[in-house]
Symmetry: C2
Subunit: 388 residues, 2 copies
């Protein structure tokens, strides 16, 4: 499977992005629009303190059909009480009015600082006339919702006659600056919303839910899929496979662009007692500050990997059975470091992708997690952040 | 309760510290010795990949009596297989021979890099003659076991006629550089080892087990208590209270000296559904990279605190009931930021102690966790670390 060299929209989808005055400069408001009603499904943050757009989004997505997504950056509309809910509704109402579509087919996202009310009039003014500014390049919409991202993110691939496109922003499910991971998936395939829901949950489980930049779960994470049927029926199995593949690729793109990150970190755990245990251990490895700084420093510090496996005290592991590989080189077995070529391993660790494979050799559970290194850049961005 | 202005040893305890050649320079081997057999108890890391000293230590402590502790820094003797076990035994045997005491009354610790064998001959040579170098200042022993600590750590207080002294090293239970938290508690009170064990477990639960520098649990953490009875009986309830108090103080000292740290971070959670849930949430707050960098940047980013509470998805919390205080100033209630004096709160956050109090207002569970801020210093120390 491969991606188009440049992201395109499926039939019937367009987007627009403007500066409405939330940020000092740069676009801060994007809309994604389909000319035809799309079947839709969505998953949202599990944080117990969700923002107003997530609270409303959970209701809106239940009907299983959407026409538009309206997204602002700079302010997340979280911790804003009743007024926050009212403001989120006003965003949807303004878009419904502008495009002449039903209000309950517009879903909203907000990303940025928590605890501050949206200047809703600026957003409403910005939406007036936005229907006339629609463009066909997904990167336009992607650019308008960036916060700390270093580049806009969109990928596309074909599945039979249909196109599958993902637009995303954020530095992780797990969140610098409360910047939030937002993922919007567009297709012109004809697939029912309940099937989309199944496929989305399955794809998210092994892609975005295995992604972590800093172990901090945002209050606004949102992943939506819209399929407007313009390309007719597709092989659903092939579509689901393509969706998994594309979501995993986007998870890697997000991890690699984690705040301050210089490398993608991929931890694969095989031979665990169960898949859930493999997931816990793979996540512990990519979330360990010591493993992350080891990747940054390109030092083959096997001890830190062992430590990260061992600190998962609820998971089974037997030290004498563990084998570890770093970028395909065996570095630990039989309770001891192997006699590896240190210069070679340091060289591989110096690249922009660090792969750690832990073989527990006690069962059949496996999982892969995606993260990034931890650098001074992360500290600088987040310590300098001014919340008000 | 208050501490002596300078740490002293209880009656009968002494220590020595030398350079035996593991480090390029500086002391790397310490021994703590009691002239009289001490009742003893200990707790060890829960990491599933414990080092040889922890594997043996668990057996040794079962008899409930000790005469000496031998500790080396630079190499942790973890991930070293059968040879590691043999080397740990040789450390104890050398001390037993040097002091003319039973080998099974000598316990050992090692701290430093994982996966490298100890140059045991250097340690054995170093132990020869160490009995003639005993001193009465606990800081001497504390200095010899430092790794990335910026200062040696020892505190003392009186409990009735007895003295209670804690010597410790490390930047956290949760571990930069696999540097390991080692805590040795000495007293001349007359208390049975099974009572010491109860008291120690209780004290550790609310002090060292609520401490985190970077969420990475060492493979070598060890906390021992030795009481040699020289001061006779003490009020055990008073002793237990003093032990809790002193362990909590030492946990704060360790957190404040976390790698790269500039501030102590204290998170108190009250009104949780249960004490276990309060502990999970308090730990999530002090472990959140975003809360840690917020403390470093002295920014009252309430959203990050809410996020950290909300990401504890296994714990009950109701957003509308949550109240938050930063250094005693109420900053969040009724789903919104309070109208706090921003300059005042930034001023308080700029001090060397950041206190976050989250009132969940749904139950009676409470807990306090101790951590530190996350700075470029942490990255520099850990990315530059060279493991071999």
């Amino acid at each position: 499977m491969k991606f188009h060299s440049k992201a395109i929209f499926p039939r019937g989808f367009k987007c627009a992005s403007i500066h409405c005055g939330l940020k000092k400069e740069g676009n801060d408001l994007s809309v994604f629009y389909t000319d035809y009603q799309a079947n839709a499904a969505g998953v949202f943050t599990q944080n117990k303190f969700p923002g107003a757009p997530v609270i409303l989004g959970r209701q809106i997505i239940k009907r299983g059909c959407l026409r538009a997504i309206i997204v602002n950056s700079k302010i997340s509309n979280v911790g804003t009480g009743e007024q926050g809910i009212a403001n989120a509704r006003r965003m949807a109402a303004a878009v419904a009015h502008e495009f002449g579509i039903p209000e309950n087919e517009v879903i909203m996202s907000s990303t940025g600082v928590i605890g501050v009310q949206l200047p809703i009039e600026k957003i409403e003014s910005g939406i007036v006339g936005i229907a006339g500014a629609l463009e066909t390049d997904p990167l336009v919409g992607a650019r308008g919702i960036m916060t700390t991202d270093t580049h806009p993110k969109a990928i596309s691939m074909s599945v039979g006659e249909s196109v599958l496109t993902i637009v995303a922003k954020g530095s992780g499910m797990i969140e610098p600056n409360m910047a939030t991971m937002l993922v919007y998936i567009f297709s012109d395939a004809d697939i029912a919303s309940n099937r989309l829901d199944d496929m989305l949950r399955n794809a998210v489980r092994n892609s975005f839910n295995m992604l972590s930049v800093d172990s901090d779960t945002s209050t606004s994470d949102t992943c939506l899929i819209l399929a407007n049927s313009r390309a007719g029926n597709v092989d659903e199995e092939k579509f689901a496979t393509a969706l998994n593949f594309a979501c995993t690729e986007m998870a890697k793109i997000l991890a690699r662009d984690g705040e301050g990150a210089t490398k993608l970190l991929i931890a694969t755990v095989t031979g665990a007692k169960s898949e859930p245990e493999a997931r816990i251990i793979a996540k512990a490895i990519i979330n360990s500050p010591l493993v992350k700084t080891m990747a940054y420093g390109a030092d083959p510090n096997i001890g830190r990997i062992l430590m990260a496996v061992g600190k998962c005290t609820t998971c089974d592991s037997a030290p004498e059975k563990i084998e570890i590989e770093i970028n395909e080189i065996p570095v630990f077995a039989n309770l001891c470091r192997t006699d590896f070529d240190e210069i070679d391993v340091r060289e591989r660790l110096s690249g922009d992708e660090v792969k750690i494979h832990v073989k527990l050799n006690i069962g059949a559970g496996s999982a892969t997690a995606f993260g990034c290194d931890l650098t001074e850049g992360y500290i600088e961005e987040n310590a300098a952040y001014y919340s008000s």
